[in-house]
């Protein structure tokens, strides 16, 4: 039974991937990609990765899909022009041959995977009590591979700087995106008043549950960022000025606290990002609480894009 479900998911996934790649126009391709992202979340459930499924549905399908849909709106009218630059039939055939060759090589690799299976799970499980958290994924993210998570938070900040640097000179330091004008008594404004209180509670719940259950700061930050985006799109509040000092401080606060805790470990436990015995759980909570606002700000501002208006007078 379960194999039948997996086979059905696989067939749908492959069909959607092909459809997305060959779709008639960019809008259809992006619509296909959003559905593909949701289906991918099902794949993660079948692969026993509930945490990954939550992240995929929230960020891979949701945020990336919304970002690409916004881009389709901006790119309208440029599609016909590039259609003439399409690869020739020969080049397409070459691409197909290359794609099949890469697929075949990877499949060969999959079929000769080593036995016994290499795994780090037996190392993680006995070490979990020392971290004070119950969800092994959270344990890996914030204790055993905390350096990766620190670098990831840094990459997000650098990506945001990269996006902002695409601002035209006149808009540098200004506000991103359009100023949304909607009917203040309309249904969108209504939703933007009703949903955020619920969304904020759910976001904080997902954040806190991440210590012992599937969930955590990335999924929570996505929910909170989505609530902020909703308020902006309903015209209830404007996007912040990117030159705002408080905003910039909030963006770098998370990684800075993370680095500070790492240096503390260097001094108190003998190595960068090591936690002194007994203090692991409180320090993990400190890092997570500091990272959450940073992630919310960065995810929402990445969605907003570069500043476009209201630069220096």
């Amino acid at each position: 039974m379960s194999t039948v479900v997996s086979a059905a998911v696989v067939l749908l996934l492959l069909w959607l991937a092909v459809w997305t790649v060959v779709a008639r126009d960019a809008f259809l391709a992006v619509a296909g990609f959003v559905v593909y992202g949701l289906l991918l979340a099902l794949v993660w459930v079948r692969l026993a990765g509930i945490d990954v499924a939550l992240t995929e549905a929230a960020i891979g399908g949701g945020l990336t899909g919304a970002l690409l849909l916004g881009a389709v709106g901006r790119l309208r009218g440029t599609e016909a022009a590039t259609a003439t630059e399409g690869a020739s039939a020969g080049a397409r055939a070459g691409a197909a041959v290359l794609a099949v060759a890469v697929t075949a090589a990877l499949m060969l690799g999959v079929l000769v995977l080593p036995e016994p299976v290499p795994t780090l799970a037996p190392l993680v499980v006995p070490a979990m009590p020392a971290t004070g958290v119950g969800n092994p994924i959270t344990g890996v993210l914030l204790a055993f591979r905390a350096l990766d998570t620190l670098l990831e938070a840094t990459v997000l900040v650098i990506a945001l700087i990269g996006v902002w640097s695409f601002a035209p000179d006149r808009a540098w330091g200004g506000r991103p995106g359009p100023r949304y004008q909607t009917d203040p008594d309309g249904v969108l404004a209504w939703l933007a008043r009703v949903l955020p209180p619920i969304g904020v509670v759910i976001g904080i719940y997902v954040f806190w549950a991440g210590a012992d259950h599937p969930g955590g700061k990335f999924q929570a930050a996505t929910i909170l960022a989505a609530m902020w985006m909703l308020v902006q799109m309903a015209g209830l509040s404007d996007a912040p000025r990117t030159s705002h000092r408080g905003l910039r401080a909030g963006i770098v606060a998370g990684p800075l606290v993370f680095i500070a805790v790492g240096v503390l470990g260097l001094w108190a436990a003998g190595s960068f990002l090591a936690y002194p015995p007994g203090l692991a759980k409180p320090l993990i909570v400190v890092i997570e609480v500091a990272l959450l606002p940073t992630l919310v700000l960065v995810l929402a501002l990445l969605m907003n894009g570069p500043p476009r208006r209201g630069g220096p007078a």
């Binding site: 249904v187 209504w190 939703l191 949903l195 619920i198």
Partner: protein, 97 residues
């Protein structure tokens, strides 16, 4: 008792899946945005309600069941608002040409 509840779950989830199928057929076959929305919102809301009702007896504990009901209410809220927005934007596009 539990066999009865399991039977109820199976029937309700299958009925829910049927309504989803009907809604999707409507989405693919109906001619314009309004009728497509009609098919989607009517049939999918009922389908989701049936699936949630069918899964309720399978949850362990009131808290888990409460979360499931919350999911259902939130989906109802968002789908109602989104279908309104889509219909309005379709109407505006019609008025403009």
């Amino acid at each position: 008792m539990s066999a009865l509840l399991d039977g109820f779950s199976v029937v309700a989830v299958i009925a829910g899946a049927f309504f989803y199928l009907a809604g999707t057929v409507g989405l693919l076959r109906f001619p314009d945005a309004y009728t497509r929305l009609h098919a989607l919102t009517k049939a999918d809301n009922l389908g989701l309600a049936l699936v949630v009702a069918g899964l309720l007896p399978q949850m362990d504990g009131l808290l888990a069941a409460g979360k499931l009901v919350l999911v259902w209410l939130l989906v109802l809220l968002s789908s109602a608002v989104v279908s309104q927005l889509i219909a309005r934007s379709a109407r505006r596009r019609e008025a403009r040409p």
